[in-house]
């Protein structure tokens, strides 16, 4: 899938860390209040921010509002960015903080039980309608599971497993020792695995997925 910064289409499996580093002059100009430079920073990073926000929020809620808030906070705080870490690490930190604040605030607001999630971007050409529906259902269930684990564990799980960040970099984002990050990751995985078995609908889907994978491997062996 192409990664067109302006199209709302997302690169699959690519992490923020893969990006070429930000030109220092661009950040310096943006920090000094240059709107054009800031806009360029925004365009370069908005898809990465959107993806992280979406994953952190479990695919539901006011993703657009949170993205806007992230970049507003970036504009406000960019002058304080000293370049001691990578810009993307700093941006992740801002994003994570904004999402956590938003989630905490949202807890006290009424939530509609069947609030439709922001639909995941499945490539319709790549999967059959049935398969697409099943995958979407699996993603919804997976997002629900992610939602159930503790906030700190969820953050490191999303950053490591989905965003592909190394524990050392996550440690800078969450301001915790690397060992703590690894521990949270371990427990996040363990809890998710335990929950997988308890979630009836997902267990069924996982079994289907496994049986599908088994039959595929049998075919391969033949």
């Amino acid at each position: 899938m192409p990664n067109d910064a302006g199209s709302g289409v997302y690169a699959v499996g690519r992490t923020v860390s893969d990006r070429p580093p930000e030109p220092e002059s661009l950040l310096a100009r943006a920090a000094a209040g240059d709107r054009q430079a800031f806009h360029e920073v925004y365009v370069r990073h908005r898809n990465d921010v959107a993806r992280l926000v979406f994953r952190m929020m479990g695919g539901r809620g006011d993703v657009d509002d949170v993205i806007q808030e992230v970049f507003f906070q970036v504009f406000r705080s960019l002058k304080d960015f000293r370049g001691q870490s990578k810009f993307t690490t700093w941006l992740h930190r801002v994003t994570v903080n904004v999402v956590l604040m938003h989630r905490r605030a949202a807890k006290s607001r009424p939530v509609f039980a069947d609030e439709p999630p922001n639909e995941a971007a499945l490539d319709p050409a790549a999967v059959s309608p049935d398969e697409g529906a099943a995958r979407r259902e699996r993603m919804r269930a997976f997002a629900r599971l992610l939602d159930r684990i503790a906030e700190k564990k969820r953050v490191v799980f999303v950053l490591h497993e989905l965003e592909g960040m190394a524990p050392a970099e996550i440690a800078k984002v969450v301001d915790a020792p690397v060992l703590t990050v690894r521990t949270r990751l371990f427990y996040a995985r363990r809890e998710l695995e335990a929950m997988l078995a308890e979630e009836p609908s997902l267990a069924g889907l996982v079994n289907e997925m496994k049986s599908g994978a088994d039959s595929q491997s049998e075919d391969d062996e033949r």
Binding site: H39, D64, N97, M101, R104, A105, A120
Partner: protein
């Protein structure tokens, strides 16, 4: 990772591909984000320009003063700065959370860590407080007495906790009752680069984005840009007043109405007494605490020293007696209608005292009150109207009164003060 169960790994593998947002409306985000940024940049530039201008004047003043004083004070240590360094008060508790309304969720962010704040939580400089689902009441007892309320949906950050408590209102509204201080400012609210500085008053400040709305029930506020030090230089507004301005240009956009009916009714910012929530003793280092005790914040009844006592009693629950004191005799509750009639009678007595001896004052009118859902008075009108000084005196009591139910209330007023 070879020991992982395949199911989770496979789900993660799918999530990497599928758990991505669909179409994002970037145009909409940009259309809202960029104007916000423009406003922020404009406000920041205005503050910087003001500070630069001010510091040049201060520098010039200091230079002139230094030149004049040099022959007299040569060799002496420089005089102390006007205000103590921020560092001195940095660890001082700025306020304490004293009451939470209903199921309000109060989120306190301290040193980057957010948590639900319990009653009794100290709030320090740099902390951010958010209220959702109701109001949260806070108090600062020393230095300076401030009782303030964060309304539902509001977000504030404690910008300074030196002599004056300064809060940055990021969104929503706060209401405060501030005991007057003999010198300087007791409380200030920063909104998008602009400052509403308070000398002692009851006010409500609402950050509506491009517009700031201030409802001033009593006292005086100064509206301008935050100074680097000292008092806020800006437009002075006296109560009662309904003020609106653009934080990017407070002076140029200032609109003031002194019409009492336009001023929003005051809402109590003191915690209700019956629940007897533990009073929060705000820790202040002995070195920085003033020698004389500061008065507690006055109850919300506008200018309680002036408002008739019956009304104050009806509007604000009486404080709980100390445990050691004997139980007080039961007092029959005063109905709000009766309390208001008594209050207006009290105002008439004050007015009558200014008249020549032997002149009686007769008041015949009808007070039409619209009570809001929280029992607070939203609108009030005398029909026929009263004399302005009598009306203003009565207004302080009316807007501080709480009714048990919402809806219209009509109170006949008919008495003579001999």
């Amino acid at each position: 990772m070879s020991g992982r169960k395949p199911s989770l790994d496979e789900l993660v593998g799918e999530a990497k591909e599928d758990l991505v947002p669909g179409e994002i409306d970037w145009a909409k985000i940009e259309a809202e984000l960029m104007p916000r940024i423009e406003r922020e940049a404009k406000a920041r530039a205005a503050v910087e320009a003001y500070r630069g201008k001010r510091s040049r004047w201060v520098a010039a003043g200091v230079a002139i003063a230094a030149a004049a004083a040099l022959p007299l004070f040569f060799g002496h240590a420089p005089t102390a700065p006007l205000e103590s360094a921020e560092g001195e008060g940095a660890e001082r508790a700025a306020s304490g959370l004293v009451w939470k309304e209903g199921k309000v969720q109060v989120t306190l962010t301290h040193a980057g860590q957010s948590s639900e704040a319990a009653v009794g939580a100290p709030i320090a400089r740099g902390d951010t407080i958010e209220a959702h689902g109701g109001r949260a009441l806070l108090e600062r007892t020393s230095p300076g007495a401030v009782a303030w309320a964060i309304e539902d949906g509001a977000k504030v950050t404690i910008a300074s906790s030196r002599a004056a408590l300064v809060v940055a209102l990021e969104k929503g509204a706060i209401e405060a009752q501030v005991a007057p201080v003999s010198q300087g400012e007791a409380f200030a609210v920063d909104v998008s680069g602009a400052r509403v500085a308070v000398h002692g008053t009851h006010l409500r400040v609402d950050n509506e984005g491009t517009r700031v709305v201030v409802d001033l029930r009593e006292g005086v506020v100064s509206i301008g840009l935050p100074p680097r030090s000292g008092s806020t230089y800006g437009d002075l507004v006296t109560a009662p007043a309904h003020v609106e301005f653009d934080p990017a240009d407070p002076h140029g956009s200032l609109k003031v109405s002194h019409e009492i009916t336009r001023v929003r009714a005051a809402v109590p910012v003191e915690r209700p007494a019956p629940e007897a929530a533990p009073r929060i003793a705000v820790a202040v280092p002995a070195s920085s605490a003033p020698s004389a005790p500061h008065p507690s914040p006055a109850p919300v009844a506008a200018s309680p020293s002036k408002a008739p006592s019956a009304v104050v009693a009806a509007a604000v629950s009486p404080p709980s007696p100390p445990a050691a004191s004997p139980p007080a005799a039961p007092v029959a509750p005063v109905r709000p209608e009766q309390a208001l009639t008594d209050a207006i009678r009290g105002c008439a007595r004050e007015r009558q005292a200014t008249l020549p001896p032997g002149v009686a004052l007769t008041v015949t009118s009808r007070l039409e009150v619209q009570v809001g859902e929280h029992g607070t008075v939203e609108r009030a009108q005398f029909d026929p109207p009263l004399a302005p000084e009598l009306r203003d005196c009565a207004a302080r009591a009316i807007y501080a009164t709480h009714f048990p139910a919402s809806g219209p209330v009509s109170i006949p007023i008919d008495f003579t003060v001999p």
